[in-house]
Each structure stands twice: as C-alpha cells, then as structure tokens.
Amino acid sequence: MRYQLIGINHKSAPIEVRERLAIPDSHLPDICRDLTAYPGIEEGMVISTCNRVELVTHTTNGSADLRGFLHDHFHLTAQELDAHLYEFREQDAVRHVFRVASSLDSMVVGEAQILGQVKEAYATARAVGSVRGQLDQLFTRAFAVAKRVRSETAVGSSSVSVASVAVELAKKIFGTLQGKNVFLVGAGKMSELAARHLMAHGCASIFVANRTYDRATGLAEKFNGQAIKFDDLYDHCDRADIVITSTGAPHAIFRREHGEQFLSRRKNKPMFFIDIAVPRDVSPEMAKLDGIFAYDIDDLQQAVSSHVADRRKEAEFAEAIISSEVERFEARLNTLDVVPTIVSLQDHLETIRQAEIDRVRGRMGPLTPDQEMAVEALTRGIINKVMHTPITTLKTAARDAEATTVIDVVRRLFNLRDKDEGDTPQADSKEGPSREVGGTRR
C-alpha cells in the first residue's frame, strides 16, 4: 500500500491561498498526465473543488516528492504553500479519501455534492489513464464506503447545506424573503440549489446571467425567471436583493465601483451576495461597503459551524464506519499482496512434483494408467499437505496485517522469486527442494 496524498482544504488554507491553487476543469486531464509523469508516481488523480485541491497518488516507493510537484506546477515557493499543506500516506491516505468521499471532511458535513465531484475527478483521471489498478481499487471502495455512510447514518439527512445557510443569512438581513428578488450569476449546481431554497422560502423572482446565454435561459425557465445577457449584468444586478454568484472568472467580477452603483440605484437598500466561486467573484473592497453583505465560501463555513454540533453524533458513527472500512480495505490489499506468493508457491511445488514424477518415470519406465493415477494422487496429496500450513499462515497473516513479514519468510524458505527476477524458482534441479533451501542460505 503505497498511497500518498497531499492537499489543501478549507480548514488548512484561507481562500486567498486556495484561489492560487484553483484548477479549472479543463486543465484537470493535463495535470493528471503531468502527475503520473512525475518521478516516483505510478498513478495519480486530482480532486479540485472550491474547498480543496488534493493530489492522490500511488507511488513506486511511498515517498514521492508531491510538494515539489505542487511548487513546480503552481509556481509557488515552499514558504508560500507548505504551511497550508497536509500530507497523508498509506493507511492515513486511505482514511482521508474515504472521509472526503463520505463528506465527513466537507465544509458542510454530510453534503452530497462532494461525492459527485470526487466521481468526476476519478472519471477524468481514468479517462487519461492516470488511474489504474491501485487507485481504481481505492476509489471504487471509497464510493462504496460513502454510500454505506449515507445509508447507515443520518449524517446526510436534513442536510445543512450552503443553500440552507444562505437562506438563514438572508433572513438575518431581510427578515422575510417574501417579495425578494434573486440573481444567479453563473449557472452552477450549487447556486441552482441555493436559488431553489430561496424561492421555496418566498422569494418573488429570479434572474439568471451566464456566459452561455442558452444555459441561462434554460435555468431561468426552470424557475420561471428571466435570463439576462452576461454583458448586461451590471445594468440589472441592482434589481436583486440576493445575488448568488459562482462564475469561473479568474478575477472578481463585482468590484467596489459596481457595489456603489448598485447601492445608489437601490437607494442604499442592502444587498446580499453569496459568493461560492473560487477564485471569488466579489472583491473584498466591495464587501466593505455599507449595505453590501458578501459571504464567500469560507464565511459560509463559519455560518454553518453552529450546525455542526447537531451532526457530531452522526459524524461519530460515520467515523467508526470509516475506521472499520479502512481496516477492511487494508486487509483486502494485504490479501491481494499474498496471492502472488501463494501462486508462486503452488507453481514451485507443482514444478518439483512434475520433475520428481519425470525422474521416477525415467528410472522405472512407462507406468500403467493405474500406476499413473496412484502416483498422481500420492504426490498431489503430499504437495497439498505440505502447502496447507504455509498458505493458511499467509492468509491469516494478511488479515492480521503481518503479511509483509510472512511473505518474506515464505519466499526465503522456498526461494521464490519475483516475476521480474525470473519466472519460477529453481525447481528444475535434480537435487530438489533441499538444494533451493540451501541456496537461500547463501
């Protein structure tokens, strides 16, 4: 198990840092390719959401320089980045991936969106071939664990989502949402969800602006709202009391001068900006204006913190599931580790058996069919009895996480070699096993 993971998330780094590591979806395949081309990395995938950027890898020796990759790729110095990074290896990396997929590491614990985002990242990496056997196993299991957590605990029920937090905050500003107008800037899933919540709480109408006008029209139709051309955004934005913005723009699209315009046109009536974009769409300078209330993704985390306590108990159940699943996964991997040894051992003894039968045939001449059957049964029985204890020991050791030691012992005892060292043990020797054992003692 040579899994290695590095990343930053909403807990380890402020949004100013996360912004610098934000990876547009279109760049994900390239970065996956770059990752697997990096020294020491066999497989790699990148999870990039507004709350986290993580590299999940399977390495050749368990200690690839993932920090170096991040420094090189994002042109950041160790001083700028390293204090915000976390790194997990082996079992801890598995646990972290399970926790992320199960939404236990999310800003809003239990929210369902992260699983979809991880699945998308997995699909992207798989499509470019940077995820194969090892990461494939890890993520296939992670998705199953996430499903189990969701079905066996209430951590995802009555979800405190960004959407419901947005409604709560809007109520602190406006009292009632009856008659308030909502403006969606960017047509992301999370903003759509937030808009749905706000409309359910009595908001009167909705405007949608998106760089792709057709998408804006489609979304506006869903809410019986009005699509606005993106170029006309600033002319219409002041009509909204609540603006949910989630564009992929590299810089803030709402700046101080826009805020001043809006407030002037609205006679200083307050506006609430829910900025779920990373990098942020609302500049900090605009957020300082009296009458502008802008909550970015980190602020929403603070707002939901009060709700986290309600879920702590469910999260504890979920953590217990994760722990047992990590153990199961590790045991399964260890079992997989012993399989080649068992196969080698079987091949090795079978080769010896065949060699010995051939030797006997050479001395005694052709055997009758009955004799052949008797010899076959006798030798096979001996081999099976000889193999029974080592195989049982190997399987038990795999479950007890002692596989590496036992594998090593068995391989030394029977002089089993890795495939790349040569196909089979030296069983063609006429001296038989005693010589091989002697050989390992050299």
Binding site: K172, I173, G175, K267, N268, Y295, D299, Q302, A303, S305
Partner: protein, 271 residues
C-alpha cells in the same frame, strides 16, 4: 400618591434596565418575557401616576420632573407598539435605560415645580404642545435606538460571526423599518408640537424670539429631524450615516431640553 405609583413603576422598569444589560451579552427568552411583563406592569403604575397627577388639579405638565415622567411613558408606549407589530423586545436595549433614567429623576426629584412663565388661560394649548413634543421626542429616542441597533447588527453581520447578540437582534431590515417608521411618526408630532409652542409663545409674549436658546435649539433639532426624514426618504440613508445623523438629532434634542435651564421664555424654575 402619584409619586408612589411612579416609584412602583420605577421598580418595574429596573427589571427592564437589567434586561437591557444582560441582553447585550446573552439571550434568554425567559428573561425577555419577564422584562416585557415588568415593563407592562410599570406602564400601568406609570399611567395611574399620570392620571392621578392630572386629577389632582396640580397639572403642572411643564415641570421638569413631570415632563420627564411623561416622556418616559411615551417612550415606553412606542416600545410597546413596536413590540405589538414586530414581536421583538430588542429595542428595549436602548429604550429601557432611557425610560429608567427619566423615571428615576422624575420619581426621586422634588415635585411639583411650577413653570411660572406661561399664562394660565393657554393651559390646553400648552398641554397639547407638551404631549405633541414629547411624542416627537419619544419617537426620536426610538429612532436613535434603532439606528444604534442597526449599526450593531450590521457590524455583526459584516464580521460574519454568529453569536447570541446576532440572534437576539431582529433582522436588519426590521430594525430599519422600526427606525424609519418611528421617524415618520415622530416628525409630524414634533412639527405640530413646535407649531403649538410657537402659538403659545406668540400669544403669551406677542412675538417669537428666535435668538432664545430654547427656540434656537428646538428649530435646530427640527431641522436635523427633517434632514433625517428627507435623506432617508430621498437617498435611503442607513447604517453609519443614518446613525451619525440620528445621534446628531438626539444630541440636538438633549440640547433643546437642556435649554429649558437657560431660556428666558421657556424655563422650569428651581429645577
């Protein structure tokens, strides 16, 4: 006897005062209800005190202490009206201390103190003047309080840290409505109060002395009041600017009140 009822009212308002301080640090529904009931009971005692004063034929509304008592009662009335509409006791954070202070000085002071300047035959006009002006003052107190609460809630929301105070205060727009409606309601009362006062002054002295500190400061207060209403109506001033203006109006109102001690035509004696 009137003074006794007023002191009972003061005891009740004291609970409201404690509530005002406690509410700044933590929220308690139970304490909020207790404070509300205490304030209601205080108002009953207060009302009885005022009625008794009126029936005693010692109607000296223009005495300092009776004026303070009347202003406290009107302020509390406004508070109750707001509670009835918005179901929030949070303006009490400002109103309760003001009411307690006014009632305190009225209840412990020497009473009655007669205003000697006014001629008796204009009595009803004087009463109308006082009631109108004090209603305007009470509205101003409430508007000022709402401005402060708005500022507080705005800062809390900007700081993005949920705490008990944020939960205790009503929504920003509700506070804004309380302030604006108080302003709108108080302005005509204040205007009419000044008009009746002017009528009484002209009838009494035959002229208006605009250089008299009381008249000067009252006019200044009215101008600030008008600017507040206008800026709010025209530009929707809220938050910091509105709070600054409300503070200015409040200071002007205090100055106009204090001018009673210096005015030659509108002065409480032996205060």
């Amino acid at each position: 006897m009137s003074l006794l009822w007023l002191r009972f009212a003061l005891a009740c308002y004291f609970i409201g005062l404690i509530y005002a301080f406690v509410a700044l640090t933590r929220t308690s529904d139970l304490f909020s209800r207790i404070a509300l009931h205490a304030a209601s009971l205080g108002m009953v005692f207060h009302f009885v005190s005022l009625v008794e004063l009126f029936l005693s034929r010692q109607v000296v509304w223009a005495s300092v202490h009776n004026g303070e008592s009347l202003l406290a009662f009107f302020s509390m009335t406004f508070f109750m009206i707001i509670y009835a509409i918005y179901q929030t006791t949070s303006p009490g954070v400002v109103v309760f201390p003001v009411v307690f202070f006014l009632t305190f000085v009225a209840a412990v002071g020497q009473q009655p103190v007669l205003l000697t300047s006014f001629v008796p035959y204009k009595g009803w006009l004087v009463v109308a003047h006082i009631i109108l002006i004090f209603t305007g003052y009470a509205a101003l107190v409430l508007s000022f309080g709402a401005s402060l609460l708005y500022l507080l809630q705005e800062r809390r929301l900007k700081a993005k840290k949920a705490n008990s105070l944020t939960d205790f205060l009503p929504a920003l727009e509700v506070i804004d409505q309380i302030g604006y409606r108080s302003l709108l309601l108080g302005f005509p009362f204040m205007t009419l109060g000044l008009v009746t006062g002017s009528v009484v002054a002209v009838a009494t002295y035959g002229r208006m002395d605009f250089l008299d500190p009381k008249i000067l400061l009252s006019v200044l207060m009215w101008i600030v009041y008008m600017i507040m209403v206008f800026t709010r109506w025209n530009s929707g001033w809220r938050g910091r600017r509105a709070a600054v203006l409300a503070s200015f109006a409040f200071i002007a109102a205090l100055a106009a009140w204090a001018a009673n001690y210096f005015s030659t035509i509108h002065r409480f004696t032996a205060s």
